[in-house]
Amino acid sequence: MTTAEDLRARVGEFLAAHDPKTTDRLEFLRARFDAGLAWVHYPAGLGGLDAARELQSVVDGEFAAAGAPDNNPRRIGIGLGMAAPTILRFGTEEQRKRYLRPLWTGEEVWCQLFSEPGAGSDLAALGTRAVRDGDEWVVTGQKVWTSVAHLARFAILVTRTDPDVPKHQGMTYFVCDMTAPGVDVRPLRQLTGEAEFNEVFLEGVRVPDANRLGAVGEGWKVAQTTLMNERVAIGGQASPREGGLIGILAKTWREHPELRTPDLHERLVRLWADAETARLAASRLRQQLAVGAPGPEGSAMKLAFARLQQEMTGLEIELAGADGLRYDDWTMTRPERVDMLGRGPGYRYLRAKGNSIEGGTSEVLRNIIAERVLGLPSEPRVDKDVAWKDLPR
């Protein structure tokens, strides 16, 4: 078994051979991948050392302490968090070798072509068609809510390959080249004014069968792996008391006595207590993970976070007095990531509305808690045994 000590020694040797101050950034990252120090729980030869997943933080800590360049993980979150585990699990050896290294170094950005205008919470209803043509598939349809599609080289793509069977059975999963003819990426402007996401139109896009992940018709199973990793990636993060938005609200309150009213005070103190409680619950979740007993509270945390963010951002506008009527900037931009704290209260208020929709709506999460945690019976499924093509839509 690889231990934390082994890893520290390996990082030490690596840094001795590749001085982060004098080595080119990309060269450094490629060498780090080849040394098995990219994601240590991955197999040897694919950027890892077959070590325990928890040891990754040791390696990241050592590299950060040495001032080494990182792979800008927030920019390539979909590749790291969703595409990579799926390729690792379902990809052929050739696919793994081709995709994982440039994915990890950030040379190739990945996006996710899952949701469609007609398939949101009910993702399995998706209708983007892939029709076989010799060694290729011809893909036609529309995807939506695709972050970084305009920067992406590749996408993970779920398609409908057999409309004559029930919805979960007729799907197939591919890697799609975003530079292929017929791929059209258009910004999707949100209520905040910016376009964080895109719509992706696929018109007769030819995808080689060699790009398929998993068997024909098994796309739902493959997609489950991707989505499970999304939920892991969303898990609570450590923050100090008054970290995040509640700290901004408290600071405004202390600095602007002229804005105080009894109603705002009552709501602020209540939110302060709620934010502190949510922070403690997130800490408790991390403590459970640390002793290897992840609690089912995980799925509940996102629900709590969404509600808190929405209440706090709503209060923040009221706390701003007349300035609450202003908005910082409606210009259409295409940001690489969400920057809640870097924008004004109006933006925060509007963007927080997405917190209860993205990554599983609060309603879907409540179903998950009720059914998988509390063990309550599921809703009757009217679409279970119906061919996809016959579903009402």
Partner: protein, 365 residues
């Protein structure tokens, strides 16, 4: 950062208490007792004190206790809340014991030994609604060891052998140990924790803390009591959620389990989330009280802000989602509703605790 999990020792303690309650304090027997001659189960209390040592759980071993901390006391309170067991644990092992431990005098240690071994039941003679940060009570006056006055709505007082009475003397605040007060049981909303009015009419008392210690000792008892009550509230809420989920799985209407309707599932999911939050807050309060950090004020206020209302919400949802059966005397849900609502007023309402929090977190009105 606080340790917010349960240790193995704590889980063992929980199992032994839960097993005992399953055997000796079933919902039916607790319900039947509420209208009997003996609303408190003193036989069970003697078992808790004698066999499990719970009467002196947080008392140091040299004073006859178990030398455990607020963390273990909190776990016992979770189980007591979960079974709404009518024993004077809050009054004796939490409030009176915390006050006496904070006195630290030879006289207080003497009383503490008797409480720790279960030889006597003690009660802190304050209205159950008194909160940490409140003014020292002035209802009782003491002069030369003789006490006069009246204290309304004291929890567990009807089974107490010793009352720890806050009194005002010419020298200042004091705490007295009193035996032989007149105790009149009130008709309380909570059927499993009784309240009583205490009358002192020239009643003698032994001084356990003088002006130098009495105020701080009372404040410490109220702070610990409020912080640990959060765990009892958590236990009440947990029973309500578990019982309601179980019922909705087996209750059929419209040809399907009632628990398959989203309108109910979503409410239970929200309740589950509230409990997850409340558990973190309650554990944090217990751990902070146990480790003696100076953050206890905030930890207790946050826990009470959350847990008191979660317990009430859980009990109200339990009654509602049980439908007609939830409104009956026969079903135990009402015992939890009565406990939850009374606990919301006990040792400071959530609003009172948020007022404290506003002060401690520097969020002035």
């Amino acid at each position: 950062m606080s340790d917010l999990l349960y240790s193995e020792v704590e889980e063992d303690l929980r199992s032994s208490v839960r097993d005992l309650f399953a055997d000796k304090a079933s919902a039916a027997s607790v319900l039947a007792r509420t209208e009997s001659e003996e609303p408190y189960d003193l036989k069970l209390w003697r078992t808790l004190a004698g066999e499990l040592g719970l009467a002196g759980l947080s008392v140091p071993e040299e004073l006859g206790g178990q030398g455990a901390s607020a963390r273990e006391v909190a776990v016992v309170l979770e189980e007591l809340g979960r079974a709404v067991v009518p024993v004077p644990f809050l009054g004796s092992a939490v409030l009176a014991t915390s006050a006496l431990l904070a006195c630290g005098t030879d006289e207080s240690d003497q009383v503490l030994r008797r409480l720790a071994t279960g030889e006597a039941i003690g009660v802190l003679a304050v209205p159950l609604t008194l909160w940490p940060g409140a003014e020292f009570p002035s209802a009782v006056k003491a002069d030369g060891g003789v006490l006069n006055g009246r204290i309304g709505l004291v929890a567990d007082a009807s089974v107490a052998d010793v009352l720890i009475v806050p009194a005002v003397t010419e020298q200042g605040h004091a705490l007295y140990a009193v035996e032989g007060a007149t105790v009149t049981e009130a008709t309380s909303l909570d059927l499993t924790r009784r309240l009583a009015d205490v009358t002192l009419d020239g009643t003698p008392g032994r001084l356990v803390a003088g002006p130098d210690r009495a105020t701080a000792a009372l404040e410490r008892a109220l702070l610990e009591g409020a912080g640990l009550l959060a765990s009892e509230q958590l236990g009440v809420a947990q029973w309500c959620l578990d019982e309601t989920v179980a019922y909705l799985k087996q209750r059929y209407q419209f040809g399907r389990p009632v628990g398959s309707f989203q309108a109910l599932k979503h409410r239970l999911a929200d309740l589950y989330l509230e409990l997850a939050m409340a558990r973190a807050a309650a554990r944090n309060a217990a751990d902070t009280l146990a480790t003696g950090g100076d953050d206890a004020g905030i930890a207790v206020a946050v826990a009470q802000s959350s847990c008191a209302s979660v317990a009430v919400h859980a009990a109200e949802e339990a009654v509602q989602m049980h439908g007609g059966i939830g409104m009956t005397w026969e079903h135990p849900a009402h015992l939890y509703l009565k406990r939850a609502k009374s606990d919301q007023l006990a040792l400071g309402t959530p609003g009172r605790h948020r007022a404290t929090l506003a002060h401690l977190a520097n969020l002035p009105a």
